[in-house]
């Protein structure tokens, strides 16, 4: 059997693939967090719960309306995004002038409520969500077997991430968003409805989390705590990448997924902590994060 650094290549590529899958979710979720933080100055602690809501929305759409995976990939983020818009209008818009801590506490409280409601209704055992037929099976690449669904997750996540980055960095809408991040008062005085832009930005960030949730549904169990397990790692990713940096969120998301995967091969005992170790080092060396601008 082919070996690399004394490790069987199938194990190495297998873990690399799992790393890329995890990285896809880290990137999607930290991208949403970065977009929200940049625009709203809110550390959205309910992001994990909103990811979970996306997965449950897909599950419920299938159970009660018969809508399958592909339509759910669009409908679920829209529905969960609308709940985000309501949350922003009802609560978050009152917090922008206050310390970050208030936004963090409020969204943390909302996460507990959302998860509690889900646990109350569905229990904590987790529900299965079957793979769409069109993505069953896989490809034998010679050196490893690549399941179609995993390949799809990586491609879709990369596509969404790069699309979002493109819109923010290279379009007129993106220029409005960047300008409003810097000086919302002046942008509004140019005739742009900044409060509406902020509301829609939060809705979009929440929809990104829900999109990740739908993509996660066939891989992981759909369970109330699926978000809170993931979100701690995602926050570490955001800290490493730098709060509010779009490209930083994407690159560190995928990068740390891969590093985590490789750690499982070479030093399995550290695989659960490696991201936090990196976070600690980055905080010591570059407190603003790898891609962050010093405030």
């Amino acid at each position: 059997m082919l070996e690399i650094f004394g490790i069987p290549s199938t194990a190495l590529f297998g873990q690399l693939l799992i790393g890329l899958i995890n990285g896809s979710f880290y990137a999607l979720l930290s991208l949403g967090l970065a977009v929200i933080f940049g625009m709203l100055n809110i550390i959205n602690f309910s992001h994990g719960a909103q990811y979970m809501m996306g997965a449950f929305a897909a599950y419920l759409l299938l159970q009660y309306t018969g809508l399958g995976y592909w339509p759910a990939l669009i409908v679920a983020p829209i529905l969960v995004g609308i709940t985000g818009v309501i949350v922003e209008r009802l609560f978050l818009q009152r917090l922008y002038k206050l310390d970050h801590l208030y936004g963090l506490l409020l969204t943390f409280g909302l996460a507990l409520i959302f998860e509690g409601l889900a646990r109350n209704k569905f229990g904590s055992a987790g529900l299965p969500y079957t793979l769409p037929d069109s993505l069953r099976g896989g490809q034998n690449l010679g050196f490893m077997f690549l399941p179609n669904y995993r390949a799809w997750v990586i491609v879709a996540s990369l596509g969404i991430c790069l699309g979002t980055w493109f819109v923010i960095e290279w379009t007129r809408l993106g220029a409005y968003l960047r300008a409003a991040t810097e000086n919302p008062t002046l942008v509004r005085a140019f005739g742009i409805n900044v409060p509406r832009m902020i509301t829609l930005t939060y809705g979009f960030g929440v929809a990104l989390a829900a999109f990740a949730g739908v993509m996660a549904a066939p891989i992981y169990n759909v369970s109330p705590q699926m978000g809170s397990e993931l979100i701690i790692v995602v926050f570490a990713v955001v800290v490493i990448g730098g709060m509010g940096s779009i490209l930083g969120a994407i690159v560190t998301g995928f990068g740390l997924g891969v590093i985590e995967g490789l750690t499982k091969v070479f030093f399995p005992e550290a695989s659960n902590t490696v991201i936090f170790v990196i976070m600690a080092i980055v905080l010591l060396v570059r407190p603003a994060g790898l891609f962050g601008r010093r405030a």
Binding site: T181, E182, L186, R188, A189, F190, G191, I192, V194
Partner: protein
Amino acid sequence: MLDVTAPLLAVNDLQAWYGESHILHGVAFDVREGEVVTLLGRNGAGKTTTLKSIMGIVGNRTGSVRYEGHELIARTSDQIARAGIAFCPEERGVFASLSVEENLLLPPAVKPGGLSLERIFELFPNLKERLGSSQGTKLSGGEQQMLAIGRILRTGARLLLLDEPTEGLAPVIIQQIGKTIRALKEQGFTILLVEQNFRFASTVADRYYVMEHGRIIDQFANSELDANVEKLHDYLGV
């Protein structure tokens, strides 16, 4: 001769607060179509706050701001901009995360009839050369000021609020800005200018209002400037 046209901008009993501090105490003045009107006064007299209150970007304000006959006091700043008023802040407000071109194209058109980019580059030839610059704030102070003025000429706004456009700039740049303001006036723009430098103001303004402690305390036309120089020195403490 009796002026039968209503003023383009009529400000009455304008009061403004920042938090607990009461900054404007009943400011009243007006600006007629096509005029360049300058607010003079010492630091802290309330000139900038007056512009910001017209634009709707101070914490709290009362009174009346009428533009083209419409009351703006209850409107938000984006609605005020869309009524056709554009604001160039004292700190210039050039965005660091936007390229020069993005900065220039940022303010959306609010009315038809804004200047074309070619026309703006005729006024500010330097801007065209710096268009490729990746970061708006990498420009010199004078270029940033030109960018800040240039970008609001595209929008179709007919009333421009310029807050100390000459502050901190070299004399040759100040001359260029003076030339620009006179050119804009010829094109029919109406301009409300805030200035500390009344020698500069005298090269562009039709009328002056003098502010002190959040009130208008005096006014005169440019033709009366010579007769008022003594008094002005007194007001401005120069």
